[in-house]
Symmetry: C2
Subunit: 378 residues, 2 copies
Amino acid sequence: MKYNKKRSFGLVKTQFVSFNKPFVLSSGHKIPSLTVAYETYGSLNSDKSNAILICHALTGDAHAAGYHNPDDRKPGWWDDMIGPKKAFDTEKYFVICSNILGGCKGTTGPNSINPLTNKPYGISFPIVTITDMVRVQKMLIDYLGIPYLKSVAGGSMGGMQVLEWMALYPDLVKSSIVIASTSRLSPQAIAFDAVGRNAIISDPAWNKGNYYKKKKKPDRGLAIARMIGHITYLSEESMFKKFGRKLQNKKLFSYDHSIEFQVESYLHHQGKVFVERFDANSYLYVTRAMDYFDLVVEYGSLEKAFEKGKGKTLVISFTSDWLFPPKQSLEIVHALQRVGRDVTYCNIESPYGHDAFLLEFCQITRLISNFLSSLEKV
Amino acid sequence: MKYNKKRSFGLVKTQFVSFNKPFVLSSGHKIPSLTVAYETYGSLNSDKSNAILICHALTGDAHAAGYHNPDDRKPGWWDDMIGPKKAFDTEKYFVICSNILGGCKGTTGPNSINPLTNKPYGISFPIVTITDMVRVQKMLIDYLGIPYLKSVAGGSMGGMQVLEWMALYPDLVKSSIVIASTSRLSPQAIAFDAVGRNAIISDPAWNKGNYYKKKKKPDRGLAIARMIGHITYLSEESMFKKFGRKLQNKKLFSYDHSIEFQVESYLHHQGKVFVERFDANSYLYVTRAMDYFDLVVEYGSLEKAFEKGKGKTLVISFTSDWLFPPKQSLEIVHALQRVGRDVTYCNIESPYGHDAFLLEFCQITRLISNFLSSLEKV
């Protein structure tokens, strides 16, 4: 057993639920049926008041905590945060995480079989939005018989889903935790997404999205998209500390076309391992959903988006995050304050850039534990 | 005549000089012969004391000012700065600009014919460094019969060449102007370069660098490299002001796979026009030369690099430049001060990011005019 039972939730299985009725998307397009992949940790209490929904980021999935197999080398993506005595304490809370609509880890997305054609959707899959993702999560919550959520929490694109939950289902969200997120991406962030998508569709192996049965997949394009993304997840400072200008397994330049710097090697590695776990079409859909997300356009203003909700909100940002910069978190905080909402904000001093939401778990744990405890007292 | 004669140097021709002897590079590799493309503006005075060398950046060329043809829509890349009564006043100075070694605009590079094989070098062209580029410029200066340079000036990678001139030929550089540059790239900047190169070599049309006689060139890969680069040349602020989240020729999202945002359309356009004017192999070589450049590694310290020179230096940076951030200019300034050099530093308040060195010409003109005038008085 590779994992430490005392610190981990332990073994867990991804579960699936299918909704065999048409689902109409924000775009007006329809999907004939839906499957949602999800995991749960802990138990729903008798009055169904302890459910917490965790929303994952761009490349996450339903496997947020614990291990699928005793031999797994790595636990779920937020295992540091979810488990017994952790921030999302599974001895107290019933924690749920589901794969997003448009994803590639069990919930219906472009790599799913279209029941009308018996072939993978590919890019015939309709465009999805963060709102669509949240509406699918709501269907899951209903299916699980949960009347309301004690809290909804997520970082990065997960935070966008939290914000959408607050606006779309104000009565069901008793509290919310928004980490390293934004009510709308900056044009710079859209630009990085656009170049990543361009790298994928420029790969001849992408083949207009029809590659699922081909031997060659658009791995090169997807790897480049991931490398671009990865630079934006780190900060200049953390790259400097981690790599500096150090060379890769050599003391002098090779003066050839090989990899010279550690930072180059690191990015190559990140690209390489990513293509083994993610679907290129899904990357197109999910980054586009992020680009579209704009609470101001959707509700008229941030104030209007937040005015119907009542619960407390915890907003966390990181000083060195330049992809979802602190000022974007502050916009959310100020809008919540203007409509009289109870909001706690912390801008954590961290060198890790956007990735801090997956790394600074000691500080985030303290904030979230205190925040969730403060709800008990009410 | 599209140009205004009063404000432009006017018509100019690119000239070429060939050096038919082997040139040994920093790597130890050899090129059997060399051609250098260059332009000159103004006249060398009788005591040969008014020559100023302009060093171009990554995608620049020898055509720094004036027009090649009366019908040209655009003048040379730094026409705002070079001409009668401009910062580099061609009524006073003999201004020279040459295409860099490894470039693709007339000076020997990977797209040149290897005289030993009668085929384009492709990636058999040896790796070049900033030092190699500067040594080739020195050959040109010697060929032109110029004993020393009144000034050497350049922005971005052009500034790297200026710094290398200061270190390599301290007696020949009477003054120097370093704009938006650095003594060594940050790992973040290396990372962006590495992903750009990866996009090129991942394009099947790159064909290990052998595409010169093919119909299909690695345009897709090169366009992606350019798009990545372009994001780093702008600032978050300038992108926000220029594009915000505005849609491209539409009021509502199309919810399809077309271009939705103006910023996406802009980047696509930048990629598209770039491949018409630049060679993909050259992009690999020149970005690598930038990555290699490190005065500290080359000379032991910045102080050692600068201690032999005597002339004045003007260092200019831009507040919103995050690719070559002001702190890197300050490192140069402080090292010059520590070895007792006369240095003037200005960090220009500008929203335009790294591109400011091509845009803030009013402010740069004032600084450079004053700087060059101050040399006259000595």
